[in-house]
Symmetry: C2
Amino acid sequence: MTSLREIMDLASRPGVLSFAIGLPAAELFPNEALADQAAHVLRGDPSALQYGIPYKPLKSQIVELMALRGVRCTEEQIFLTSGAQQGMDLLSRLLLPPGGQVLFEQSVYDGIHLATRQQRPEILTIAADPATGMDVDAVESLLAGGARPAFLYAITDGHNPLGVSLSLEKRHRLAALARRHRMPILEDDVYGFLYYGDLPAAPLRAFEDEWVYYLGSFSKILAPALRAGWLVVPPHLTARLSSLKHGADLDTPSLSHRVISAYLEADLLPAHLAILRDEYRRRRDTMLAALRNHFPPEVRWNHPTSGMFVWAELPPGLDAAALLQTAVETESVAFSPGVVFGPGADHCLRLNFTSLSPERIEDGIERLGRVIRRAALEGDMPVLLSSP
Amino acid sequence: MTSLREIMDLASRPGVLSFAIGLPAAELFPNEALADQAAHVLRGDPSALQYGIPYKPLKSQIVELMALRGVRCTEEQIFLTSGAQQGMDLLSRLLLPPGGQVLFEQSVYDGIHLATRQQRPEILTIAADPATGMDVDAVESLLAGGARPAFLYAITDGHNPLGVSLSLEKRHRLAALARRHRMPILEDDVYGFLYYGDLPAAPLRAFEDEWVYYLGSFSKILAPALRAGWLVVPPHLTARLSSLKHGADLDTPSLSHRVISAYLEADLLPAHLAILRDEYRRRRDTMLAALRNHFPPEVRWNHPTSGMFVWAELPPGLDAAALLQTAVETESVAFSPGVVFGPGADHCLRLNFTSLSPERIEDGIERLGRVIRRAALEGDMPVLLSSP
């Protein structure tokens, strides 16, 4: 049982308490404000629904948004997409020839595999540490050994699935490698605005503006169903991306882009981001406390400072995919087993902490703790029984 | 001067009366009703903005919509897209191997070229008659001669750019050819609901449900910025299309899909379609009358029964692209020259009749008539001077 589809089917059974999917908290979506802004846009401008060129005011607003992430860019570097996934797809089409090389972490968001699949790339994999992120030494030695990837894919903050944010030193080294080897980095920063401590280090794009192509999204900070994201790329690429997007879905403005622009114009995002950060911090802290209270001490997990996920490692003997099956059947609780994100993580779990209330997080982690203890017992792993 | 971009730049100069682009009439968009429905959806359901599976209620509503076009299908055959262009892109990725054959009309919507470009197809072209549509004899002999296209692209009603609707006899023959040769037909029916006489013949999909893949869109019947369309395909293809769409832009519901569903649920579409048909009929009739009054009789044009375009042919000596330049510079009026849509139509014009008011259509065609007479005079073509 390893396909994402089967796991999602298990995790979405009615009544199952699920940590499996990277959902934002639906109850925090600014429905009212978006309804107001949609009405404002639709009643104020008949041409809001017409074909046209991508909506320029939103581009200059995104320039301001990027400044909050420590990135300086211009309107000419902004390319509007219908979400970060489309950014990956268009950049893959642009950069990756059939059979070309790409550089991915071993455990990584499966959407980057889907976005590149049609070019049947040669995938070079690199390890990543759940505490410090991508193994930059491995990147360096692959490049030194002659690898010439069309691009490296990196999730700098709140990594999916690892939850980790890249250390500042690794950011500097990666930016330098991109520059030295003229290797594009697709920097996926969809979780970057969701940080729970001090202002985090700036994304790679802040350290390298020619070879880092930045992917942003409103899905995690406003709402997924708006289908709106953006790229920050060198200006010479935007015309080629526009031509590709024209073939893919016309590259004409969506109503969502206008509604988001009106929402930003009304200056509603800062307060909304503050709400998201406060509540998601509370949920993360609840999950970390529940893990300490209910998981056997032989299980290890990291302490994410951004994003939506905790990454936990069972002792290597335990298979997380089998555990999921048991967890759903016996305790109605679900998570994403590591195997979904690549090889070598069969004993790992990705736990989403943003979509459930603190009470349900506490409850769900307690249930999951019971499942793990029982599995260890049945699997004759008494080491796991040492804990309370 | 042949690139679409240059022509669009010319046609969109401020103050230019433009027949160049296939725009629906912005003043007829149901902004108020959509604002109401957006508020209804957003205030009624917090999960309307969440990730999820494609919105099922809209699929069953589209089944009902298809029945109005004489097409019987099931919810399992409906696949939701972000517009017909995305349907073309996904079907091209699904059906067309690199270097594979495709069958296009010589003058055809350029978006199908853009959607297939990345596979670098071998394009087999067929002629089309502005009065009866695609040359089905030519299709038949290509197939008899061993052509094995990945698909044939057809716009059955209100063809873009030719304005023509395929005769019933040709529909039957094409459906039979698809069946006999197991050749998919991508049937682009984005103009099919915009007919101006009696109920037209049903689309190809009504005559062949296995080999005709139907592309529909809300862009022309509701509004382009909703970015919503659909496919009707055999059920065995929908899972593969979903996987492709997941890589392209996630295949998660957009807010627009919910808003359209609420709009359809409120049964607002029939009256809106009646308004569109009445007004567009009036505009078409105004254009046809103006062409009779102001164009030299040596210019020929067709009488579209559906869609948004009239196709006009100048005497072969006159170059439409050069004429456009003059038209913009001397009379501030624009159109799309035939060369934009393929070779062999240098003396042709595509005239959109939906986006301008009847008064402006009358004015613009009069101006264009003057430009043509003058060009003929300067080009030493006295034949054109015989008219009043």
